[in-house]
Every structure is written in C-alpha cells, then in structure tokens.
Symmetry: C2
Subunit: 207 residues, 2 copies
C-alpha cells in the first residue's frame, strides 16, 4: 500500500516504522519538508518526504497530528480526501489540563467523518503508544490495534497495516465505538504514572 | 474483610469466588434469600446468604446488579451506605439494543456518588468478565482490576480484594475516570463476537 502520514512526531515515526516493516510505501508530510526529510532519513524502506499541503499520493492517509490542528489539516485538504481511507489516531485532551475533551460528535473520528463525509474514516492506533509501535510488540506480545469504522475498505487497510508488520487487529465495530476507543486510549495514558511504565505498555485483550 | 455482595448473578459469583479465595468473609444478598443460599452453596469459605433489604454487615458493599435496578437497591438502603465502601461494577447499556447509555453524570459510578454522597464509591470489576473472575486469570496471566475512586479507603479495599486473590490492581485515578473505564468495559464486551472469545478474555495492560 501507499500510505501518506501527516505529521512528523513520535506517532508518525511509530506508524511509519510499522508501515515500512510491512512492506508499504510511506510519504511523510510535515509542517516543513525539512522536518519530514529528517524523520525519513531515520527510517528504512520506501519512504519519501514532503510538506503539508503537497498533493496526497495513494489512497490511505494517516492523520498523525494533535486533535487541535486537525481542522487546519482537513481544511487544507478540502475535497482531496474524498474516497480515501483516513485514519484518525487522536486522543482528544485539553493541552493545558490534560483532561479529556467532551465532543458533541461523540468522538474525534465521528467529528472528522462529519467534516469529510466522502472520506472512509477509521479510528485506530489511539491505544498504541509511539515507542511500542517502533517495535510492534511489548514483552514478547504483539500489539493489539483496535479499529472502528463504518467502511469495510478502511478496516481492511488498517488490518493489512497491522498484520503485515506483526501486530494483531481487533475489529471494535462501527465508527461510533470510537468514543469508547478514545476512552480506552485516555485511560491507557492516565495510568502510566501509577504503573511506572513510561508509555511503554500495551493495552491488550488476552485469552 | 467482611464483604456484602448484592446480587446473585454471574458477576456476583465471580467476585464472591475471588473474595473468598482471598480469605474474606462474604455475605450474598439476593432478590430472595433462596437464590442467595443456592449460590452460597456452590462456594467454599466463609459465605452467608440473605435477601436484599437485610441490614448490611461490614463496611464493604459490592453492587453486582444491572444498572437498571441500582436505583431500587440504593433506595432500599438509603442512609445505610453512609461511610461504607460501595463498589460499582456496571457497564450501562440499553437492555434491548445493547447500545451504551449516555449518562449526564458522566458514568454510573459518578451517578451513584451523587445519590449516596456519604458513601465511599469506587468503580471496579467492570472490565473483568464473570467467568474469568472465577479463575482470577486468563491464559496464565493475572486479571487486571482497574479501580477509579476519589476515596483512598475505597481504593485500598479494592486493592486488597484484587491482590489477596492473585489479581493485579491498576489505579486508574479519580472517580471521574469511571467514564473512560465504562467505555473500556463496553469495548471489551463489544469485541467478543469478532474475537470469538465468548466473554473469556481479559483486558490487560502489558509491559
């Protein structure tokens, strides 16, 4: 698959690492092309770099940016996301207080689906920490990647992205369950101090 | 500890089994004393039975009933829960559609805290399935028991209940995070069909 990742932070690095490990082609788009080029230079495989605003090649876009800048990104790509799989990875928190935000749409993913109704929106990777994505596993156990979407194509893309690089996909159901996924993502962040796991843990369903 | 469990269903059985395994005394209160006696007869240890409405002995009460009957139970024990640790285990769903309920208080646990403000309310055991509680572990890994409370006594009680019977306590934070815990509990239920785990899985944080 040809995957465009918008963002050059730790989550972009983690998802790009797994996507490349799975044999996909990755294009990183940063607030500057230099930032994207710097991250691309640290990665191995079919990776390219550009700036946010560049045309999107391929049919899969991962929005690896903070909730607070999504509006700006979606505005810059108005119309260009139609028909594409758009993966939302955010956990919406107040950047000052770190408290969870209560969204009228129910979740960020549903908010995005309202703003780009012709995109195939999926929620995923919001419960997997950046550092653990670089390895794809924690303590010898593969990461669980939870996906929520109303679109089977979108789910299929996330499944390939997860499974081709050694992770497990967990189909959480329709896009509406993104609300609970965002709750679980927040919970996973909130317990890091008590557990002392420094964002190195994985939220998993074991059986 | 002396623990009163209100309810005689599968969750009452699971929590009673662990409480008894941890060396606690358990009193089961059912809609009839017969039902409670029947469950007590299946369990080993210091277990007694009675009917809902009987006075509560001890300082710990686990509400192992559906969300929809909590009001009735709390009404019958009006005033008698003051100062006691009250453990809410519910995941609020519409009994017809099985869709999650959106509560003005944020979560069932916060709703209970509003109704019995002098009780020490904790949210716990809403992500652990009944059958897995009977064993206390899944696939050789101890269950994670997430607790949310604004009261340290209540957290301490849940910690002892969990750890004394071989489970791991995860302190999720203040009672307000019960909202995200209930989201995680719903998510864990919702994925059972896709995973094929028949409510035999455990939601864990691995590291």
């Amino acid at each position: 698959m040809q995957i465009t990742i918008i963002g050059t932070g730790n989550m972009a690095r983690g998802i790009a690492t797994r996507a490349l490990a799975g044999g996909n082609a990755v294009t990183l788009l940063g607030t500057s092309a230099d930032k994207a080029q710097a991250l691309a230079g640290e990665l191995s495989g079919d990776v390219r770099a550009g700036a946010i605003g560049d045309p999107i090649s391929g049919d899969v876009v991962v929005l690896a940016v903070w909730y607070q800048v999504l509006d700006d990104v979606l505005g810059r790509y108005a119309g260009q996301l139609d028909g594409k799989v758009v993966v939302d990875i955010t956990n919406p928190v107040d950047p000052q207080t770190y408290q969870p935000l209560d969204l009228a749409a129910g979740s960020v993913a549903q908010e995005i689906a309202q703003k780009v109704p012709r995109a195939k929106v999926a929620k995923a990777f919001n419960t997997t920490f950046a550092g653990t994505l670089v390895e794809g596993q924690v303590g010898g156990q593969p990461l669980d990647v939870f996906v929520a979407s109303d679109d089977e194509d979108a789910k299929g893309v996330v499944r390939r992205l997860a499974e081709d690089s050694g992770m497990r996909l967990v189909d959480a159901g329709p896009l509406a369950i993104a609300r609970q996924l965002e709750g679980a993502g927040y919970l996973h962040m909130a317990i890091q101090g008590d557990l002392g796991t420094s964002y190195g843990s994985a939220l998993k369903v074991v059986s």
